[in-house]
Subunit: 458 residues, 2 copies
């Protein structure tokens, strides 16, 4: 039985981009439907409830300074934030040595520190010149886009240790390696979030704060404030037809007819929708050229955050892997009684995620726990609970944290990224100017696309 809906605007995807777009449209009195493939909202943001009732996130979770849209949204929706713990020492494993350090950087060989610091500074200086609304107009864009970040690193980073640290930082931000990234895309992305250090940092950085109740709570509250019937779950869009004077969207059991549509799903998911007439060649080829990163987010749950008593903040960095970086992810939630369990969050990123993507769950868990033991000692060996999620294997996401462009794409296809095709508009965090790849960018993109549509309908 096919249900038919006729609306002014159809929004595809109920992640932050889609929910923000729908809110803006509904506020303006526009009859809107949001069609979402999954049986839940949030997209790349997903809560997981622990045994004690507290929540951790198996998807995107943090916000930090200058992500003003997300802080405002949290206030609007009555969601509190709390800081990621930074009290205590962090651990770095590099070149077979362990460094225990507090705040800033460990006491490495000064030549390595200088090398690393200079590389970051140079990247930031180049990044600042990349226009966020049109990175393809950056000075020397062709040359920057014609090479990988790795090529730049080989010329500009002298010490092997600094290269390893930098590569690990890249993995932590992009979930892929410097040899896969366009230098121009890298610079755009760093500028989009401010600078490299801000993307990497907890204190005063993109990992600074968390949401009480988990980040998906915001998406759920955004969904709840939409008028009844706007949100349609279990409605995967297979086909978008603009042959007539309307946009027809086939979403499984639901057939939507709309004057305009906003597609917010990530590039590799978009690439699988049938558009008729076919998308213009530049848009179609762009969608062949925005691969998603590879990340498996893993959490080990313990009776308590025992590392705190040892003076550790739970932040670990291991350039050998498989786990590259860790955080204390112990949930704070005053509405739940009793002490929380201790949670160590461990990321498998890029090559490490790829290597552990196809293996048996037990094998992956063993590898992750092994990494935690290497970083934090034998107490890490026996978690009471363990959870992970391989985002590359998620049909409706196909890889996290986000999409990137390999060399030669941004300069050739970038202008097609936000340019509407007929009555179809494009959103999603990859289309944001600020905090592209983050929740904040998703909200920006949804609001921008909603404005485009409001202007067009006015």
């Amino acid at each position: 039985m096919v249900e038919r809906r006729e609306v002014e605007v159809a929004v595809v995807g109920a992640g932050f981009a889609g929910l923000a777009a729908a809110h803006a449209l509904c506020e303006a009195g526009i009859d809107t439907v949001v069609v979402e493939a999954r049986d839940r909202v949030g997209g790349r943001v997903l809560n997981h409830r622990l045994a004690d009732g507290r929540v951790v996130e198996v998807g995107g979770q943090w916000i930090g300074p200058t992500q003003d849209r997300m802080y405002a949204l949290a206030r609007e929706l009555g969601v509190e934030t709390y800081p990621t713990p930074t009290t205590g020492d962090s651990i770095l494993l590099l070149d077979g040595r362990e460094y225990r350090f507090a705040g800033g950087l460990p006491k490495l060989n000064p030549a390595v520190l200088l090398d690393y610091g200079q590389a970051m500074k140079r990247l930031d200086r180049m990044a600042a010149k990349v226009p966020l609304d049109a990175p393809w107009n950056a000075p020397d864009a062709d040359r920057l886009d014609g090479q990988t970040l790795e090529s730049w690193m080989r010329r500009n980073v002298r010490t092997g240790s600094a290269r390893k640290l930098l590569a690990l930082g890249v993995d932590a931000v992009f979930a892929t390696e410097p040899g896969t990234l366009s230098l121009l895309w890298t610079l755009f992305y760093l500028h989009s979030g401010g600078n490299f250090d801000r993307l990497l940092s907890t204190r005063n950085g993109a990992q600074q704060d968390r949401f009480v109740g988990g980040s998906q709570l915001l998406a759920e509250r955004m969904a709840a404030r939409l008028p009844d019937g706007v949100l349609q779950l279990d409605a995967p869009v297979r086909r978008v037809d603009q042959n007539g004077d309307a946009v027809m969207l086939e979403c499984g059991r639901l057939l939507v007819r709309a004057r305009r549509a906003i597609v917010t799903v990530p590039p590799a998911v978009q690439a699988r929708i049938d558009f008729t007439p076919s998308l213009p060649a530049d848009r179609a080829q762009l969608l062949q050229r925005m691969p998603h990163g590879s990340v498996i987010k893993c959490m080990a749950v313990y009776d308590e955050p025992w590392w705190r008593a040892e003076g550790l903040d739970g932040q670990g960095v291991d350039t050998e892997g498989p786990v590259g970086v860790t955080f204390d992810n112990t949930p704070f939630d005053p509405s739940v009684e009793g002490d929380p369990p201790g949670v160590l969050l461990a990321f498998l990123e890029g090559d490490h995620a790829r290597a552990l993507s196809g293996v048996k769950p037990e094998e992956r868990k063993r590898a992750v726990i092994g990494s935690l033991v290497k970083l934090f000692g034998p107490k890490a060996a026996d978690p009471v609970d363990y959870v992970d999620l391989d985002w590359s294997a998620e049909e409706w996401t196909r890889g996290c944290y986000g999409a990137h462009t390999p060399p030669g794409v941004l300069t050739r296809y970038g202008p097609a990224l936000r340019r509407p095709v007929g009555n179809v508009h494009w959103a999603g965090t990859e289309t944001a100017e600020h905090w592209a790849g983050y929740m904040d960018g998703a909200v920006e993109s949804g609001e921008r696309a909603a404005n485009e549509v409001l202007t067009a309908l006015a």
Copy 2:
């Protein structure tokens, strides 16, 4: 009305790979069906009949030495070959100068010739070390795959003119620019076809010979020799389901149940098929990372091949574009009476194809004819007929000549290229060891996949 078919093997795609696979299977007595989305066979190979009844190709057309599979196939199918004309002078436009030359290279500045020759030699030397069955095992594979061909050229090609010539050769072979290609992929591809010079050459190269009646005639004869009912046109595969003990293929009005399947369609088309269960993450992410080149194949038809009387062979090279390279494409067909018209073939490749992809047909024609006049003089200005095809806009191809990998993909995802997933096997010219990207490679890949299936079923 859904029609159901139960077979031993389903082959997806009726290009050379699919037709070769089906032939091998049928010869072995295996009950086979070939499902093809289009209403024709040939895939990236397509004949176009001129007004006089002779045929030119708007898709792949040439074969050359060491493409033994294609020569053998032509003999088997009773299709004659004839040489591409090479009598007369060629034209090169470079740095605002016109060079008219016969055989080999024009009289350029010796420093440029040396530079160009050395670059070709170095690339060939590196290419020879790349194992065709596993390019990711090449010596120093990570370093080669971590950079673009452009990065290599900036370090190794000193003169701007040699770089322009080389970039044009790359465009002619890959239909994309050096800044988009992994150096490792480039080397694999050169080795796969022999060496760079062989890929670029007419005499003794990949453009040496043509087929009487057009290259699609071979595909049509391959289709005709399959048992009745094997080939199903207008049957686009939308879904491949391996949840049960069989492979179920939803192809529009046709539902096929098979023990094994061979998918031969190119990567960006494969990426749009729904596989259930989802493809393993490495295969799924590989399909996000094999973009197709951009080419528009254009032909201007004149009353006669007038350039021959002027001592020209119709081969032109223009580093400025929009047309990069041209050929005399006058058809030879003794079965048609009267003298043939003269046909100049002009390629819009890479950036030039992208720039002229979305424009009005008249504008594109004007740009192409303008290029031909620049190369061959005012007689080129008034063709009696003109035809072109933008392969990026073809729904069931999505870009030609073939797919390539940007940096960092071959070393990470290469092993997933041919590895079967359950009972589904992979073919298509991109999976070939020899002449990957060419008709010959397509045939190799189909035969290889058929052998895999025959072994599995035995």
